[in-house]
Amino acid sequence: MAETTYVEAIRTGIWEEMERDESVFVMGEDVGIYGGAFKVTKGMVEHFGERRVVDTPLSESAIVGAGTGAAINGLRPILEMQFADFMACGFDQITNFAAKCRYRWGQAIPMVIRAPAGGNIHGGPFHSQNVEMPYVHTPGLKVVQPATSYDAKGLIKASIRDNDPVIFLEHKYLYRSVKEDLPDTDFTVPLGKSRIQRDGSDISIITYGWMVHVALEAAERLAENGISIEVLDLRTLMPLDRESILRTAKKTSKIILLHEDTLTGGLGGELAGIIAEHAFDYLDGPLVRIAAPDTPVPFSEPLEKAFLPSTDEVVNKAQWLYRF
């Protein structure tokens, strides 16, 4: 398949699964004739019809509740939240019901909740947040965030085929800023498996989402100074690929935990905990967290730039850690 953007990758992934399995359907706000706020579902209603591409009222909680009910009764819903921020309106349905069905009564909920997340688009406090952690912290949910077109397609397909509820976070800055050639085969990317995006020996950067690209840029610049960076892209945030996290930690002995989400309560703390518990003896320096400050996501360009972790920041902290 020719150069495929991240948004096209998600679209074709969903498309192929809908062709493959009659029980898969799409539901959400403006997903029909409009094709979704970010055009992920563009062309689907024309091809699959209104029965399988369902426009709903502006009711996130009802969308999630209805998706869960449909999953109980044999379907495989893909729900679109217009922005990840508004998933909060369906939080009760997601965390108190959908996530607990298997544990409470052995009922599988094969459902994907897709949500455009992240900043760098001047979206401000309501349209730029990284909301993964409340869901990572809810047993019963799986949480995924692809960084590349290949992973976007492979992970959405795997999420649709999975028999547990999956929160599928799409980075909206990546929708049209990354592209790559994709194989024509029917490939999936397994949930719970990370990927080494760059092999290195001095420092490991463990990250996900857009920050994978920031880490790769930083690694490129650091290589010019003779510092070799390994970049581990988590891809799935719950369940974490603990084995690969520990493997890279033991390999380089110096670790940066990088995420776009705010610092306190962010995934970096959990990753630091895992490494400190299981690879403490291998560390040659402090665990370094790079994250957004503990504030809402600001709107205006200079403020948002100051808020988001940058390549410069990663380069500076990596140089400091290298010399440690």
């Binding site: 369902v54 909680s61 009802a62 109980i72 009764n73 298997r102």
Partner: protein, 332 residues
């Protein structure tokens, strides 16, 4: 021998229906009383007890219309709906006792129970959340072109939640096959209706969503049976959702730990006179010529069934602590 007249046949059908209603209402009443007034006090129950004493007519009059392909989302005051779907008293008792063979295998307690095989969704404790879920169950029926329906049960308190409004509106817009049974029992825990809403009838809210509704005496099982029959016919024919508001009263507190002393004595006395089981028995005698011996026999049968179920449940094992992490995911 000549065939019986139509009127006689009708009477026989009605009498049989009454007996069936009586059986399930008594089974729910006696089972809940055994749980709350005996086993709970003896310390044999884990956690709290929430009963539907005085509201038995609502699950019975409606769920008797359900077919195997239908789905039900009962509330915590609708135990009879589970019984009608074939869930056995012993499974319910093992559930209340936190045993491994209870409906949730000790993962959840008391009325938070259901069964996928019998198409009963366990209660979602965030009241009102079952309304959108019913929408999804119904959506799947519509998606496959089935004529099955969903029976959704909530109370007056649920109508204060956003989920209730979102879910009803969506069901109306999508023309989903759902029969809503609302038990308006005048109290949400301790909060009386006039502190929940400025109106008297929940049905007024429903009309705003374009859903047809009717209001019935929630303590009259035959009235509920009739209303449900109309509702099911409407819904099964593809006409979209239908809402039944049942005016009733909680004859006990919100739960076993609540003496409900916030309820005025006069109001309580007025409703106690309308006990749905006694009302049904009275009608059976007056209108259908029932012999009171039927009541004695039914009660005896119910109590024997419960004794047996209690003994079974008490002998059941507790869940193995080693299973605490099982069944969070299909696989990781």
């Amino acid at each position: 021998m000549s065939a019986p007249a139509v009127a006689e046949l009708r009477l026989a059908v009605d009498r049989e229906l009454c007996e069936s209603c009586l059986y399930y209402m008594l089974l729910m009443r006696e089972l809940e009383e055994r749980i709350e007034l005996k086993l709970y006090r003896q310390g044999k129950i884990q956690g709290g007890c929430y009963t539907g004493r005085g509201q038995e007519a609502i699950p019975v009059g409606s769920a008797l219309h359900s077919r195997p392909g239908d789905w039900l989302t009962p509330s915590h005051r609708d135990m009879a709906a589970l019984l009608i779907r074939g869930i056995e008293p012993r499974e319910i008792l093992a559930q209340y006792m936190g045993r491994a063979t209870g409906l949730t295998h000790g993962r959840d307690g008391n009325m938070h129970m259901g069964c996928a095989r019998r198409h009963c969704v366990p209660i979602i404790s965030s009241i009102g959340a079952s309304i959108p879920v019913a929408g999804g169950l119904a959506f799947a029926m519509q998606y496959r072109g089935e004529d099955n329906v969903v029976f959704n049960y909530t109370g007056d308190g649920a109508s204060s939640r956003g989920d209730w409004h979102e879910g009803l509106n969506m069901a109306a817009v999508m023309n989903l096959p759902i029969v809503y049974l609302c038990n308006n029992n005048l109290y949400a825990y301790s909060t009386p209706l006039d502190k929940q809403m400025k109106i008297h009838d929940i049905a007024d809210r429903v009309s705003a969503y374009g859903i047809p509704s009717e209001i019935v005496d929630g303590n009259d099982v035959l009235a509920i049976y009739g209303a449900s029959e109309r509702a099911v016919a409407h819904v099964r024919s593809g006409n979209g959702p239908y809402f039944i508001e049942c005016k009733t009263f909680r004859m006990s507190g919100h739960s076993a730990h609540d003496p409900a002393d916030y309820v005025p004595e006069e109001l309580r006395a007025q409703w106690l006179r309308k006990d749905p089981i006694l009302s049904l028995q009275k009608r059976m005698v007056e209108e259908f010529g029932a012999d009171e011996q039927v009541f004695v026999d039914t009660r005896k049968k119910v109590l024997e069934e419960i004794d047996e179920a209690v003994n079974w449940a008490l002998a059941q094992p507790y869940p193995d602590p080693a299973t605490v992490e099982d069944n969070v995911y299909e696989s990781i």
